[in-house]
């Protein structure tokens, strides 16, 4: 049996070639569709971003001007004057809220029998702490020391020290004691808690 193909233009597999062409065509169409969709999406996104940027910049500019206007209207000297007045008012209110009755109660709780308080002066130091200066008359230095110890033990007073002492002609000891005082918040009743003067 003769197996040789003697044709000068032999047939080949047309279907395979057409399939390849269809595949290439599909790729070309897909690429075109992708390109077009990307161009449309990117154009839309670009427009949207440009609009958003412009709007944000315009609004930021307007807000900066608004902030500048507010700050210009608020002159720093006015703000400082109000601040200073508020600090002063608060300091006055704090001094007004200081309870002498509570302080008396504390002295009565802690005062030894041979010590008398003859003067009391509260002051506010540079750090805003309440410094109470107490002038006492006592028989002996031990009594003053006992008073200082009791003041600190009872709470409320800290850093108590006798900053000046002087023996009087009658032999009594006049002491100037100072201590930082943190009063309790509530105002106590007028009733004394006992003890002497």
């Amino acid at each position: 049996m003769l197996r040789a193909n003697l044709s000068t233009r032999p047939f080949y597999n047309e279907r395979l070639v057409r399939l390849a062409l269809v595949l290439v065509g599909a790729i070309a169409v897909a690429l075109t569709v992708y390109d077009v969709s990307q161009i449309v999406a990117l154009t839309r996104r670009s427009t949207e971003l440009a609009a958003r940027t412009a709007a944000a910049e315009t609004r930021a500019r307007a807000l900066r001007e608004q902030g500048r206007d507010i700050r210009q209207a608020l002159s720093s000297s006015d703000v400082e004057a109000v601040r200073a007045a508020a600090v002063e008012a608060n300091a006055l209110i704090e001094r007004r809220a200081f309870s002498w009755t509570e302080l008396f109660n504390r002295f009565e709780e802690t005062l030894p029998a041979d010590v008398r308080v003859i003067a009391v002066q509260p002051q506010v130091d540079q750090e805003g702490r309440l410094l109470v200066v107490i002038t006492t008359m006592a028989r002996r230095v031990e009594d003053v020391d006992a008073f200082i110890g009791r003041l600190e033990e009872a709470g409320g007073f800290s850093g108590v020290l006798s900053r000046q002492e002087e023996t009087q002609d009658d032999g009594t000891l006049r002491s100037v004691i100072q201590g930082y005082y943190a009063a309790t918040s509530s105002r106590p009743s007028s009733e004394s808690t006992g003890g002497g003067r």
Partner: protein, 199 residues
């Protein structure tokens, strides 16, 4: 590609030539598509990335500007609130002028001392201006005498009274004898708004 029915290889040129009418448009479409991808889509994508960065920066600048305005408004509101509180303090809490200040110190304290059986010995008052302040101060010094419990209840009523009187200092002295009353040197102050004309 090989020929059917046992033939040799078919030249590629023959296949391409026979399908030229289809291949050329396909090639054109492919080349145009690739060109669009390389020269249009890619640069557009880079441009959009840049625009996104610019938009983020604009958003950040907007947030900063909003923060600035909020801070400025906060300062303004704080100042207005403080000013209103101060006005209320000056108008409702402090005496209006030196005359009102004198009434709540001199008159009120003398009455209070009488109510508590504390003897009113003498008084001196000095109005003072306070440097750098909108307030003036009336500083009053009293000398009172009485027994310890009366003085204590007098002090309690003074410090719980609605009038704005600050006790600055007090000095208690005993009398010469055991039965002699205590003497109280009491320094108090009250404050009022200085008149704009400075009088």
């Amino acid at each position: 590609m090989r020929a059917l029915y046992g033939g040799g290889p078919v030249p590629l040129g023959r296949i391409l030539a026979e399908h030229r009418r289809t291949l050329v448009p396909l090639a054109v479409v492919l080349v145009v598509g690739a060109g669009l991808l390389a020269f249009v889509v890619m640069p557009m994508r880079a441009s959009v990335t840049l625009a996104e960065r610019r938009a983020s920066q604009a958003d950040a600048a907007l947030a900063a500007a909003e923060g600035e305005v909020k801070a400025a408004e906060g300062t303004r509101a704080g100042k207005e609130r403080a000013a209103a509180d101060l006005q209320k303090f000056y108008a409702d809490v402090l005496p209006a002028d030196v005359a009102a200040a004198r009434r709540i110190t001199h008159l009120k304290l003398a009455q209070l001392a009488r109510e508590h059986g504390v003897r009113y010995e003498r008084m001196s008052a000095i109005p003072e201006s306070i440097r750098g302040s909108a307030l003036e101060r009336l500083r009053v010094t009293f000398m009172l005498s009485g027994d310890y419990e009366d003085i204590r209840s007098f002090i309690y009523d003074l410090e719980t009274a609605p009038e704005f009187v600050v006790i600055d200092n007090m000095v208690l002295s005993e009398g010469g004898t055991q039965q002699a009353p205590l003497t109280l040197d009491l320094q108090v102050s009250t404050y009022y708004r200085a008149r704009p004309d400075g009088r």
